[in-house]
């Protein structure tokens, strides 16, 4: 069994990666094609689609909106995530697992259901649709990711460090700032980056909850109706792809480095 597995595993992994990433490869390829029609063979190489991007006011507006929504969602979901992660790693209270489960639930709920439910609730509450409602929706789906990153940050944390700080005369707030926050700072940065990326790329919630202000994915969706605009969309998509990939990579690198630091408490024997 094991032998068969180990023979086929590389082939399986290869197919999996091709299936997952091949379509993604076409995005940058066609975004540098001179022809507006995405087909092989390429008719020539150009960067004109990229050069046009900054000259499209609607796109710049959408980018600005995405930035605002992304930053707001990232900051708020990280703040909420810090409180929740600290409570869950620190205190053993009744219903702890249940609450943890509920916070993580948006990860597996169909996004369209979440979107429609939120839409109904927000309208019932008398909110008018705007970027603010998009932020609310994004916080909901970002929190599970923030929580995952932050919980791992808080878990490597030895309670006696806070006691040591109090013992040395520091107040509760000073302890939180000088010990707790400094030690989980990498997890916090990582959570900010990941939530920002998720918000930046999110479409369905934004589609239902945005009023007249479009975010980048909504802008792209709007442009898809015009065949002539396709190369511009591909160029924009490529940029988003590269940006997201970079942000998530940085987040993961920071998180791992921090995890290594807190777990390496044993230290070298000198």
């Amino acid at each position: 069994m094991n032998r068969i597995m180990s023979r086929w595993l590389p082939a399986y992994a290869f197919l999996y990666i091709v299936f997952l990433y091949l379509p993604v490869i076409f995005l940058p390829i066609f975004s540098v094609n001179t022809s507006a029609v995405p087909q092989f063979p390429l008719s020539g190489l150009t960067t004109k689609w990229y050069e046009e991007l900054p000259n499209t006011p609607a796109l710049l507006d959408a980018a600005w909106n995405s930035l605002i929504v992304g930053v707001a969602a990232a900051v708020l979901s990280t703040i909420l995530g810090i409180c929740a992660a600290r409570a869950i790693t620190r205190y053993r209270f009744r219903g702890r697992t249940a609450i943890n489960g509920l916070i993580m639930a948006p990860l597996v709920l169909p996004e369209i259901i979440v979107a429609i439910s939120l839409l109904i609730v927000l309208l019932q509450l008398g909110f008018s649709l705007s970027l603010f409602t998009v932020v609310l929706g994004h916080i909901l789906i970002c929190i599970p990711y923030s929580m995952t990153v932050l919980t791992s940050g808080f878990e490597g944390f030895d309670r006696s460090l806070e006691e040591a700080s109090a013992d040395l005369g520091e107040s509760a707030f000073g302890t939180f700032r000088r010990v707790t926050l400094s030690m989980v700072a990498p997890a916090i940065i990582s959570s900010l980056l990941v939530s920002f990326t998720i918000s930046l790329d999110e479409f369905i919630l934004a589609f239902f909850l945005a009023g007249t202000d479009a975010t980048l994915p909504l802008y792209i969706w709007g442009q898809l109706r015009f065949a002539a605009k396709l190369p511009g969309v591909l160029a924009l998509g490529t940029l988003l792809l590269v940006g997201s990939f970079l942000l998530v990579t940085i987040a993961e690198v920071i998180r791992r480095r921090a995890a290594r630091r807190t777990q390496n408490e044993g230290g070298a024997i000198v």
Binding site: L168, G169, T262, G267, I269
Partner: protein, 362 residues
């Protein structure tokens, strides 16, 4: 050391539900004293230490430090500092930053702060390691950083929770000597928690022995070792031969006992002794029984037969059967006269000093 009490524990109880982790503890620890809390795992040593530090509060009773009641005073406002069992070195700070952590709040001028950090590092022999990262230290060095970080605050009381238990034997013995020397140099009251009786005996001015949340005896190391108040204390501090004894007479502070092996003995009355006519327990440490060679004579002797011999390098332990005693006696003898050559089965005479026999409450 002065006679002024630095810490007073007045009838302190700490309950978790119906379980009492600490039961009606009373203690008075003097200024400048090296005091140890000794006891087996789970006896409540850490519980007591953490209440002194302010991380936990008594369910009832009160704690005074330097005459001040500590009720309602948080850990960061108490004149105590702690060396944690896990050391709790801040991993995101280097050695110097760890040591200066508590000084930052005092807002000293930069030169003064630097001077105090260097002084503290010197006290624990870590001079020049200020820039070293906290995760790049050996166990012994981490222990020293924890010590320096607490000492630099110049507390009235330094609390140490099993500070040496994570170190290997050699380093532990070296640190015992250093800690004791350091305490005498700085003159601060040290309270050491340990479950290692040798550590407590070697380092302390006085020891409190605890069992199951209760303080069984508080005294100087020699007294604790030679005059244990109860069988439990005697047992915890090393080997002890117990002999059943009948009380013949009680005269004020002394009692006269009749035993089968050791005859009639008059000794100090144990603290917890209740009435006469009862039976009690006599104890004698294995090293207080001496092997009598050939024509050697002692004023008090007991005869028996060697039934087991165990070799431990510098000493040999003999197990000697004595007629009339329900249990054989354990005897330890240094090997310089050939105790390791005594054959099993040989008849043997053991000399003793009646003062070495202690009456104990059960």
């Amino acid at each position: 050391m002065s006679d002024r009490p630095m810490i007073e524990i007045r009838n302190v109880t700490r309950s978790y539900g119906s379980f009492k982790a600490l039961d009606d503890a009373k203690l008075s620890i003097r200024e400048g004293e090296f005091f140890s809390l000794l006891g087996p795992s789970g006896c409540g040593k850490t519980t007591l230490l953490r209440m002194i530090a302010g991380f936990d509060n008594p369910t009832s009773g009160s704690i005074f430090i330097d005459g001040q009641p500590m009720a309602g005073i948080a850990a960061n406002r108490r004149p105590t500092n702690m060396v944690f069992q896990s050391y709790a070195i801040f991993p995101h700070l280097n050695v110097g930053e760890n040591v200066s952590y508590g000084l930052k709040r005092l807002k000293l001028d930069a030169g003064e702060e630097k001077r105090r950090v260097e002084e503290a590092l010197e006290q624990v022999s870590l001079t020049g390691l200020g820039k070293r990262g906290a995760t790049e230290l050996s166990g012994g060095q981490r222990q020293r950083v924890a010590l320096a970080r607490a000492l630099v605050m110049r507390p009235k009381v330094l609390l140490l929770d099993e500070p040496l238990s994570a170190l290997d034997k050699k380093l532990r013995e070296q640190m015992q000597v250093e800690l004791r020397r350091l305490q005498q140099a700085v003159g601060i009251t040290f309270i050491l928690v340990t479950h290692d009786q040798y550590e407590a005996l070697a380092m302390s001015d006085r020891i409190a022995v605890m069992f199951g949340g209760r303080i069984a005896q508080v005294d100087k190391p020699q007294e604790i070792y030679q005059r244990p108040a109860t069988r439990q204390v005697a047992d915890f501090l090393g080997g002890m031969n117990f002999v059943k004894a009948d009380v013949v007479a009680v005269n004020g502070e002394t009692i006269t006992l009749e035993t089968l092996g050791f005859g009639r003995i008059t000794t100090a009355k144990p603290a917890g002794f209740s009435g006469n006519g009862a039976s009690t327990t006599l104890g004698i440490r294995p090293e207080r029984l001496r092997v009598m060679w050939d024509d050697e004579k002692a004023k008090h002797e007991i005869a028996g037969k060697v039934i087991e011999r165990h070799y431990f390098g510098e000493i040999t332990q003999l197990v000697v059967n004595v007629d009339g005693l329900e249990k054989p006696l354990s005897v330890t003898e240094t090997n310089d006269f050939g105790a390791d050559d005594i054959p099993v089965g040989a008849p043997i005479r053991l000399g003793y000093d009646p003062d070495a026999l202690v009456a104990m409450a059960d």
